[in-house]
Structures are given as C-alpha cells and as structure tokens.
C-alpha cells in the first residue's frame, strides 16, 4: 500500500510529463517541417490580423487583465506595418523590427540585452522583458501556441531588416509617371514644380552635405540620413494594358524608393496595381480616377476618391430632397465622364429608390436636356468645359435638379456661380473661390521667385503638396529607409493638412489612403452678391 502511495505520484508525473514532452517534441517537429515561407505566412497572419494559423483570433489581455480579442490588438495596430512603432498621445510605441529586437537597446528608454527567441517568446507571454521591466499597460500579453510563436518570431526577424531598394549611400531614387496623351500643358506644369523642388532640395543650402560628413555626433542620426533626391521620368506609351510591363522595365533599369505625383489620361488602376505588387509607395498622383474598390491598398496615397467621391456626395445630396424617381446622367466620350458614370451607377446600389438612365453626349446627338419622357428628379452632367457647350441652355424644371462636376469642369469654376437659372448644383471638393487666393499664396510666391508661370493651379498645387509630403516623410524616417515606414510616418501627417492648397480639408490617419473625405454642394442659382459662395452643404459620404 505504502509502495503504491509512493509510486503513484511518480507514475503520474512520468506519464503526464511524457505526454507533455511527446507533444512538445511533436510540436517542434511540426514547426521544423515547415518551410521558411510557410512560417512567415503564419507569422504575418499573427502580426497583421491577430489570428492563429487556423484563423481563430489570438487570445490576449491588456491593462493587466482586460480581455481583448487578438484581432483588435494586432501587432500591426500599434507597431504598424513596418514594425517601426511611433507615438500616439503620451504613448511611445517602440520599434519591434528585426534589428531593434535582436540587438541590445541602449541609451533610450529601458536598456535591455538583445532578445533571443526564448526571451522574446517569454516577453510576449508575460508582458515583461528579460530584465523584468514591465511593458506599458497598453502592450497586451498574448496566448500564442508554439507554432504561431515560431511564425511570429520568424516574421519579426526579417521585418524591416534591410533598406528597401532605390536608396544608395548618396541618393534616393524617385520616379514620376507620365501617361500617353496627357495635355503637355499639364505634364509640363507638373514637371516644372517637381524638378525645381528637387533642385532646391539638392542644393544643400543648409549645409546638409557638410554635416553628413563631419557633423556633430549627437545629430548623426539625422545628418547621416541625408541623400540627394534623384527624379526619374517614367513616360508610358501605348494602351494601358501594356503599362504594367513598361513600369516593370523602368523599375528593372533603376529601382526607385517611391513614386511621386504623376499624371495619366485615364484610370490610375494600372499604376496602383504595379505599386501594390512591387510594394512601392506612390504619393499623391494627379488623378480623379483612383482605384477605390480594391481590398488591397496600402501603397498609394490619394488626394481623394475623385469622381467616386463626387458621385457619392451627389447621391447623398439628392436623396435628402427627393424620395426617388428617374435620374438621367450625361457624359461625353472621354474616359473621365465614363468613369464618373460608372461610379454613380455603382454608388446607386445603396439608393434603390432611383432609376438611372445613361446618355452619351456627342456634338451630333440631340443635346436638349428635355427628352419629352417622364419627368426626372435629376440630371447629372458629367461633362468638361467643351462638352458642356453642347448642352442646350437654358435648363428648365423638367430636368429636375441639375448637377455639375467641379473636377470635370476644371479650372476656375467661380464663373458659373450665380449664372445658371433653375436648380443647378456644383459638386465641389475644392476650396471655395474666396479661400483660393489665401490657400495658394505660398505656392504662388514659390513659383514667382523661381520664375515659373502659375498657369495650372490644380496640378501645380497638388504636385507642390505631394513634394512637400515626400519631404516630410523622408525627414521623419531618417536613415531607416524602409518603404512601409514612409507610409507609416505619413499616417501621422495631420499637421501637414494645414498646407493643403486645393482642398479645404485634408485629414491623415492610420491606414487612411484618401485624404479629402468630403465635398461641398454649391447652389449655383444663388445670387453672387448674397454670399453665394457659401456652400449649401458639406457632405462626407
């Protein structure tokens, strides 16, 4: 009996321990049988989505005990895609990229030795580093099984561990895309601003080149980051279906760190796709036809959703005053009108009370706005300045409310203000005329000093702003030339919203890729002297 008493616990320990050891060995064997890329896929899923390999959310606790679903507290949430962290409010989020974790941390914050795989796994599970220093309470602890832990550690090891292509010791290479058939006045206006901005930047007027070689050691972190900016023109030709190959060839000849500004005649989609595939940031292209229906948009930062935004604003405005009915949309044979018409048709799925008819407008077609058919609630004219000349004015009430697009009309739309009879509205994502002068003052002075004529306010304004944003981003990434980090720091770019010239409001935020979120709807029939420049309403769809 006493022998049994003595042996039973030993037996139990042996059996239980054996099971554990066997399952551990089995677990290790399963992990070791995975390829590096399989492990990284698992790690990425944990890092970005907060999910285990089988898709279930990782279990985690924050503030020392508040349960938080792993999908709500992903690594990416705070440490961002690059793993370089950042700051929010009074919280500093430390970098967790490979070089940061697997080397000792000194000087800043808490010192600690380099993590090993074991000490990192412990830290993630316990919420404290190997020195016993407790993490900030907003850093959760994670209940990660061995497989996912191995995957996450493999992912962290390679995360932002080497400079992205397009950067040398002296230069940072950047390109701007110019599509075929772009009005030379537009492309020249864009290039003049970009080239001059780059030239100024490279002139080293603040002794950047001298400081890089022999500046004070305590500013080394920023002095060493200095690079001259090299601008490459990527001029495309032929049909859009061939652009992908052309872009790949340009990239093969000279990899670039990012694309800046750019202009094409047509949809931005081929360049968008190229940037996602090659993981190249594209900052603020001059386009009204961005890609908006993609699930994957990390790399392109747009000014707005362009004509898609206008279509959404228009429908929200119309739905506020009409209970439903027939809408006719007119568009010309250019790519932008057709794009807008498609965008409206797509947005209309949320408004089943309206029935939409399309009418292609050509110089030879019957272009009276009335068609003798059933009365409509609205007529939408997706027309540019030339096309609108075809319309037979004046418009009457039979047409219902009439909507015009400010992006398509282009230029100074103030000439339309107060000129049109009937209920005519302008969808206007840009500044009101009375704000325009003030908002463009900085750019006008900059151009004047460089003897560049101020001929294309919109494209010159947007290009200048894009170059400023690039400068802001590159300044903040310092010597950490990781492309994802450039976009991560621009998520914190809200202070740059103040310098917007074309748009009344730009707003930056984590993962936000369309900076202007709304547009005003201007009632064009109101008397100019009766403060008609007040927008009727600002709509953020």
């Amino acid at each position: 009996m006493s022998l049994v008493r003595l042996l039973l616990p030993i037996l139990l320990i042996a059996v239980f321990g054996g099971c554990q050891a066997r399952s551990y060995v089995k677990g290790r064997a399963a992990i070791e049988s995975l390829s590096e890329s399989e492990l990284l896929t698992i790690g990425q899923k944990v890092y970005r989505d907060g999910r285990l390999a089988d898709g279930t959310p990782v279990k985690s606790l924050v503030l020392g005990g508040v349960p938080i679903d792993g999908t709500q507290a992903t690594c990416l949430n705070c440490h961002r895609r690059s793993g370089m962290g950042g700051a929010e409010g009074d919280r500093f989020v430390l970098p967790i990229n490979g070089p940061a974790l697997f080397s000792p941390r000194q000087k800043i914050y808490h010192e600690r030795p380099a993590y090993t795989e074991a000490s990192l796994a412990m830290a993630l599970r316990k919420g404290a580093d190997s020195e016993g220093q407790i993490f900030d309470p907003v850093m959760p602890v994670y209940d990660l099984p061995a497989l996912e832990m191995a995957g996450l550690i493999a992912y962290l090891k390679q995360l932002s561990s080497k400079d992205s292509a397009g950067v040398t010791g002296e230069s940072i290479h950047l390109a701007t895309v110019i599509g075929p058939g772009v009005d030379p006045k537009i492309s020249t206006a864009m290039l003049e601003v970009l080239e001059r901005f780059f030239k100024d930047k490279n002139s080293g007027t603040r002794s950047e080149i001298r400081r890089k070689a022999s500046g004070s050691f305590f500013h080394e972190y920023k002095n060493k980051a200095y690079r001259t900016w090299e601008l490459h023109r990527w001029e495309l030709s032929g049909p859009a279906t061939t652009w992908q190959a052309q872009l790949e060839e340009y990239y093969r000849q000279q990899p670039v760190f990012a694309l800046i500004s750019g202009v094409i005649d047509g949809e931005w989609q081929p360049i968008h796709r190229f940037c996602e595939e090659q993981q190249i940031p594209q900052l603020l292209p001059n386009t009204d036809m961005p890609q908006v229906d993609s699930n994957e948009n990390f790399y392109t930062l747009y000014f707005s959703k362009g004509l898609v935004l206008e279509a959404e604003v228009l429908l929200e405005h119309l739905a506020a005053s009409s209970s439903g009915g027939r809408i006719v949309q007119l568009y010309g044979d250019g790519s932008d009108g057709a794009f807008a018409a498609r965008a409206l048709r797509h947005a209309l799925t949320a408004y089943p009370q309206f029935q939409l008819e399309d009418r292609l407008l050509t110089p030879d077609s019957d272009n009276s706005l009335q068609d003798g058919a059933e009365k409509r609630v609205a007529t939408i004219a997706w027309l540019d300045r030339e096309e609108i000349e075809f319309l037979s004015l004046p418009m009457t009430t039979d047409t219902g409310l009439i909507y015009l697009s400010s992006s398509l009309l282009g230029g100074d739309v103030s000439e339309f203000y107060g000129k049109l009879a009937g209920q005519v509205f302008l969808i206007h994502p840009f500044n009101q005329p009375e704000d325009r002068d003030v908002r463009f003052k900085r750019l006008e002075t900059w151009l004047e000093l460089r003897k560049i004529p101020f001929t294309q306010p919109r494209v010159q304004g947007q290009t200048f702003y894009a170059a400023m944003i690039l400068g802001e981003g590159l300044m903040h990434i310092k010597s950490y030339f990781y492309r994802d980090y450039l976009l991560d720091v621009l998520d914190h770019g809200d202070r740059m919203a103040l310098y917007a010239n074309n748009y009344p409001r730009l707003s930056f935020g984590p993962g936000q890729r369309y900076l202007a979120k709304g547009a005003s709807v201007v009632d064009l029939s109101r008397d100019k002297d009766a403060s008609l420049v007040e927008p009727v309403v600002w709509i953020t769809p």
Binding site: K59, L61, V62, L63, G64, G65, V66, P67, I68, D69, T71, Q72, A73, N77, C78, R80, G86, A87, E88, G89, D90, R91, V93, S119, M122, R125, K126, G127, A128, D129, S130, E131, G132, Q133, I134, P137, V138, V141, Y142, D143, H492, D494, R495, R505, S507, G509, P510, G511, Q512, K517, G518, W538, T540, P541
Partner: protein, 200 residues
C-alpha cells in the same frame, strides 16, 4: 480592491503563460505589484454645447438632451483608425458592459469620434460591431466644427488627433459635477468608480 486586481492580473499572466518558468518571472511580478495606479480622478464642471451629433445608425441626437438624461453614463473620445489607445479604451468599455451584465441598461456609454471626416455613421457601425457594443453603447460623429466644439467644452480638444490622450467622463443623475478619469482605467475600475459616484 487593488490587491485583488493585481492578484487577478498575476493569476491571469500565469494562466496565459502556461507552465513556463524563467528567472525573470519574479522580477516581472514584483514590478507589476509596484506599478503605480494607471489613472487619476478629478471632479469637473462642464458646459454642454448646443450641438447635434449623429449616431452609428444615422439618427441625429441633440447633445444636451442626450447628456442631461436621468440615466448615468460614461463618455469617451475615440477614432476608429486609432492604433494604440482607442482599441484599449473600446475593449475597456466592452468590459464595463460585461461587468454590468449582458443586456444591462444601468449605465449608458457614449463614444464620440474625434475623426468625424473618416468616421461616418457606417464606419462607426462596423467599429461598434467589432467591439461587441450592446444597445446601451452609442457611437457619435458629426461635422468637424461641432466635434471640435464638443471636445473643447469637455476639455478634450487636441488639434492633431494623433496627440489625443485617454480619458473617460462619468456622470450620474443628481450630481452636478462629472467624474473625470484621466489615463487608462480597466473596465472593472470604471465600474467601481461609477458605483462609488452613484453611492452604491
């Protein structure tokens, strides 16, 4: 209470970490015990602006009407694309909900977006679902100027949303002042603060 809380934290850490043992454990637990309270409390008077906000279902709600209700409520400011603080604050509100019992309408909870341009009602609705918000937890947005006015009147205005700081306001009927909880309190702590306010 504090001892209980930390005991619970330690227990949960141990449970989460399984049966692993390491030299750093003791130091980690010691440091956790020594951690100062993660929030400060104060009483404050606020003037509610005559503003109308929009909830996640698109309903327009006059703020004075909402905030002068006879029901107690807790209010915080968040934005849905926030990376660090708001997910924690929202998980905390969810925990408050759980602490009070599923379906409880004892305490109204209000989260006001400080990024109204991005946080449209439909975006807030998705966010509410993501954080398991019940019927007593409402998310509000509005036009940019109105939101700024509300932030200013509740001493929560920041010019750049990325500089926002976490705080929660608790108001109970028959008490003129608000309890302001600056910092990141847990759901259990918020419930305790509310109960203390309400004299329960």
């Amino acid at each position: 209470m504090i001892v209980l809380r930390y005991s619970a934290m330690i227990l949960l850490s141990i449970l989460l970490s399984g049966c692993m043992h390491h030299g750093g454990d003791h130091a980690a637990h010691q440091a956790m015990l020594e951690r100062p309270q993660s929030y400060t409390r104060s009483m404050a008077n606020y003037q509610i602006p005559d503003a109308t906000l929009i909830d996640q279902d698109g309903s327009r709600l006059p703020l004075p009407q909402l905030l002068k209700s006879s029901e107690p409520y807790a209010l915080n400011f968040i934005f849905t694309s926030c990376t660090t603080i708001c997910p924690v604050m929202s998980a905390t509100f969810f925990q408050v909900q759980q602490e009070l019992g599923a379906g409880s309408h004892e305490l109204q909870m209000i989260s006001i977006s400080i990024d109204p341009e991005y946080d449209t009602p439909s975006t807030l609705k998705k966010y509410a679902q993501k954080y398991g918000a019940g019927t007593n937890w409402r998310f509000l947005t509005g036009d940019a100027a109105t939101i700024a006015e509300v932030q200013q009147s509740l001493a929560g205005y920041v010019s750049d949303k990325m500089n926002h700081r976490p705080f929660t306001l608790i108001k109970v009927p028959n008490e003129e002042k608000w309890l302001r909880v600056d910092g990141l309190a847990t759901g259990a702590e918020l419930v305790a603060e509310y109960r203390r306010m309400a004299g329960q």
